[in-house]
């Protein structure tokens, strides 16, 4: 980028720093890891204190639904990773398609989650409902943690959808290209983090019998 002002920026006019941008994203991801880490410690302690109640309650969850959602998130992690390969190679259209597919898979995840939550709420297991209130302490704790932790995770999925949506729109406008794709990478990193958290949530709530 040559300018005719007689003044050349030391960074050749590129007022961005891909490495700093990525580092900033990672630092944010660390705060996210410690946020969920704290919740996992709470889960660990209460599970230790209420072993049998947690065991009984976990049978209420559907491992089939959980497994399907795990597969959906893993595939969506691949599609977002591939979208970065596509934009790096300059295949903008492919990148947009792969990002859109990621958003679609995110909605599939949320729809499955919606049906799961609906079934639990139908059984009165949501904190504050009558059946929940009459549960023994340990079982109530399990469902409280289930709703809080999967709820916070689902909230992250929604934020991820918005983030990827913004990136899709900017890519369509030609603002993100094969030599300026930091935002694509950062959206990808965020999406992978959401996947990482689910990788632990899934066995802890659905599979540990």
């Amino acid at each position: 980028m040559e300018h005719h002002t007689g003044f050349v920026l030391p960074n050749s006019g590129h007022n961005r720093d891909a490495e700093a941008s990525k580092l900033g994203m990672w630092l944010f991801l660390f705060t996210e890891l410690l946020l969920f880490g704290g919740l996992f410690i709470v889960y660990m302690v209460y599970r230790y204190m209420n072993h049998d109640a947690f065991l009984m309650s976990s049978f209420e969850l559907s491992p089939v639904m959980g497994t399907i959602n795990t597969i959906v998130l893993l595939v969506s992690s691949m599609t977002i990773a591939m979208s970065i390969t596509a934009i790096q190679k300059g295949n903008t259209k492919t990148a947009i398609k792969l990002m859109s597919l990621t958003v679609f898979l995110a909605f599939v995840f949320l729809v499955i989650k919606y049906f799961e939550w609906s079934a639990k709420i139908h059984h009165g297991l949501f904190p504050g409902m009558e059946h929940y209130t009459n549960l023994p302490k340990g079982e109530a704790l399990f469902f409280f943690l289930y709703f809080f932790m999967t709820g916070l995770h689902a909230f992250h999925i929604i934020i991820g959808v918005i983030f990827i949506g913004v990136v899709i729109s900017k890519t369509k406008k030609g603002l993100l290209t094969s030599d300026n794709y930091s935002l694509n990478e950062n959206a990808g990193l965020y999406w992978h983090l959401v996947d990482l958290i689910w990788i632990y949530l899934f066995p802890l709530f659905y599979l540990i019998h």
Binding site: E19, G37, L74, N180, L207
Partner: protein, 105 residues
């Protein structure tokens, strides 16, 4: 390990581009590990404590695979891997030390 394609300024144009094939291979690995987790938990149900440890171990392997390939740690500056390690060590140290304190009393 430094990668030859990366110059000193770490400009995005010199970054490593992962192939579609590599991403697909990563997904297949993750799906296989998921399959193993489900099998262990369903068929190892009578070995309760063992299956908890196994399920968490496999989950950790999956997390490492995601971070190393999908999150590009393999090809990024080593700084990122060290920072991730630091955060994990901090978390695990706190959790394990607290548990040991509790159990030994």
């Amino acid at each position: 390990m430094e990668h030859p394609e990366k110059n000193k300024d770490n400009q995005p144009t010199t970054h490593h581009i992962s192939s579609y094939k590599e991403h697909f291979g990563t997904l297949v690995t993750l799906l296989l590990l998921t399959f193993v987790t489900v099998v262990v938990s369903v068929f190892g149900a009578n070995l309760a404590t063992l299956s908890v440890a196994t399920a968490l171990l496999i989950a950790t392997v999956k997390v490492v695979v995601v971070a190393y390939y999908f999150m590009h740690l393999k090809y990024d500056l080593k700084l990122y891997s060290w920072l991730v390690l630091l955060v994990i060590v901090l978390f695990v140290a706190f959790t394990v030390l607290t548990a040991i304190e509790y159990i030994n009393r």
